[in-house]
Amino acid sequence: MKRLLKIYMEKPELAGIAFLVLLAIVFQVRSGGVFLNLQNLQGILGLLPEMALVAIGVTLLMICGEFDLSVGSVFALTPMTMAVLLEGGMPFIFAFSIGLCVALLIGFVNGYLTIQFNIPSFITTLGMLFVARSITVVISGGFPPLLPNGAIPKWLFTSYVGPGDLIRMSFVWFLAFAILIALLLSRTNFGNWVRATGGFLPAAQSMGIPTKRVKIATFMICSFLAGFAGSIQVMRLGAPLPSIGEGMELQAVAAAVIGGTALTGGIGTILGGIIGATLIRVIDNGLVLSQVDANWFKMALGALTVFAVILNAWLRKKAKSIKVETGK
């Protein structure tokens, strides 16, 4: 029993879940029962996939020991590419594919520059943040194109499904990707390489892992997911604004860190990243429902975020001090 408790409490995701439950109770009370009603859950779950997909990619990349600050820009560029092509009359499937290829290409360039010149990915992707945003504005000519009516298979991406229309199709996609990437990380040799590369690069290299290719692949996955998430958002909102995703870079990293991913690489889980993203969205939503004044909103947001991580650290410390031999 004690032993189970200990093993359980040591998982960094757990603190996140505990905090989530705590917040849900507080917000449910403060909002007079609105927080957990169907419509609000619908709202949270409808938006979650977009943020969470980006967080998954960033988490994976951070486990591999690298940063990606350009996710926000890719989040805007991919659907913008798609929209411009759609407006030009291209069928959805091609336009969408080309958009995603652009995302992959950006991921590749990020990875290639970082590795080839051995420079910090912080800089490469910060540069890319500007470059990709600039391209987005340039190809849109400054004016967001309209998505032609009926050009998008809404049923495949944004329609409501499930009991009580609780979730959207985007949630299904998100689940699929989450499971896929989580399995990739924990059950395949590729995942092992990612973790080793981020955990201690010299060891990974000397054991013959193709660390360069692993990193580039991870950059590409991260970019791809950001592009996919951006496309879902644009399909849901119906309009590709060139400014979407601004400021997302820090949020995604925050989600990963809240979920227990180490900034230095090697440590973290996909589930953690998802929980981090969920926490950020729930805090945001709950604060709105609690009618926090505009000027104080950011304060509450900042304080709760820090508190989530403090709680996490505290719980793990407590768990560690339980004196049970776990046989590990």
């Binding site: 927080f35 419509q39 609000n40 709202g43 945003r133 004016f143 967001p144 604004l241 939503n285 009618q291």
Partner: protein
């Protein structure tokens, strides 16, 4: 010899409103064959960056400087220097709240934030239900940033007056930090309306209420149940106005704001006609105006 004209303001390149201003600006420059440059900031509302850009641009000694004056003091010294150097200097889009008295600029083309907010509130009040309580939500897109705070303040100024004028009605005003990301705004305001179904009206200090409309439509809330209004015209806004979710929109005619000052500068430069104030219109757009706007919007003219 072509004229050199520089336009600095407080917004970033991903803002469609300023892209329309840029179009007007570029078109006008082409007409008079001037050498023109519009300088955006990196982040929305970065006044310090705008000041830096202005200083850099002035180092080139342009013939005319066009700028938005979003703060009463920050640009005073720089603009005074420009005027002293004989640069034709005009305020566009936003002026010093003290007008000509507060600043050395020679003329103002546009409409201030506060009056714009005020007229939005006023236009919207025509749609208010005849009786019963009013619950108005003002979404401050960027707390602390001038453009957003002042537009919001204009709206609230009207609402306060409305409240005084109707002492028998219950008027509640709520300020929310809604953000500048369409998806986030939609989610936040959507959640709020969900929790407070008695909301009468939502005012956005930008154009993000168009995405709120999406969310409402999604939820099957019929148009008009929550009145909505905001600033600037883009395609989505027109769509939602047609759908009936947005009642009132303030349009300051960005194309004109880009075009006119160039012409004035041209006249001032060539024939020494002194620039004069131009009101680019109260610019209140209602559903019935939409059909006429579609074409213009597509061309980036409004």
């Amino acid at each position: 010899e072509p004229m050199n004209i520089v336009f600095t303001h407080h917004s970033s390149a991903s803002n469609p409103f300023w892209q329309a201003v840029k179009k007007g600006f570029d078109d006008a420059c082409e007409k008079i064959e001037a050498n023109c440059q519009m300088i955006f900031t990196q982040t929305e509302g970065a006044i310090d960056q705008q000041a830096a850009n202005m200083m850099a641009a002035l180092a080139r000694n342009p013939d005319a400087l066009l700028t938005s004056i979003v703060d009463n003091n920050a640009f005073d010294e720089i603009l005074q220097g420009a005027v002293d150097n004989g640069v034709i200097t005009m305020a566009v889009n936003v002026d010093d709240t003290e007008g000509a008295a507060g600043n050395a600029r020679q003329a103002f083309i546009g409409q201030g934030f506060v009056p714009a907010g005020y007229s939005l509130g006023k236009a919207m009040s025509e749609f208010f239900p005849a009786e019963g309580p009013i619950k108005a939500v003002v979404g401050i897109s960027a707390p602390g940033q001038n453009w957003s705070e002042q537009r919001g303040a204009g709206v609230m100024q009207f609402l306060e007056e409305f409240k005084e004028a109707n002492p028998d009605r219950e008027v509640e005003i709520v300020r929310l930090d809604t953000g500048t990301d369409g998806a986030v705004v939609a989610e936040r305001v959507g959640a709020y309306i969900n929790a407070n179904p008695d909301t009468t009206a939502y005012f956005d200090t930008g154009l993000w209420h168009a995405y709120v409309a999406q969310v409402l439509a999604d939820r099957g809330i019929e148009p008009g149940k929550v009145l909505m209004g905001g600033f600037d015209i883009v395609a989505e806004v027109l769509q939602q106005m047609e759908a009936g979710y947005i009642q009132v929109q303030v349009d300051q005619q960005p194309y004109m704001q880009g075009f006119i000052p160039v012409m004035q500068a041209y006249l001032a430069h060539t024939v020494k006609l002194s620039p004069s104030d131009v009101d680019t219109g109260q610019g209140i757009v209602r559903a019935e105006d939409v059909p006429a706007l579609w074409d213009l919007a597509k061309q980036g003219l409004r």
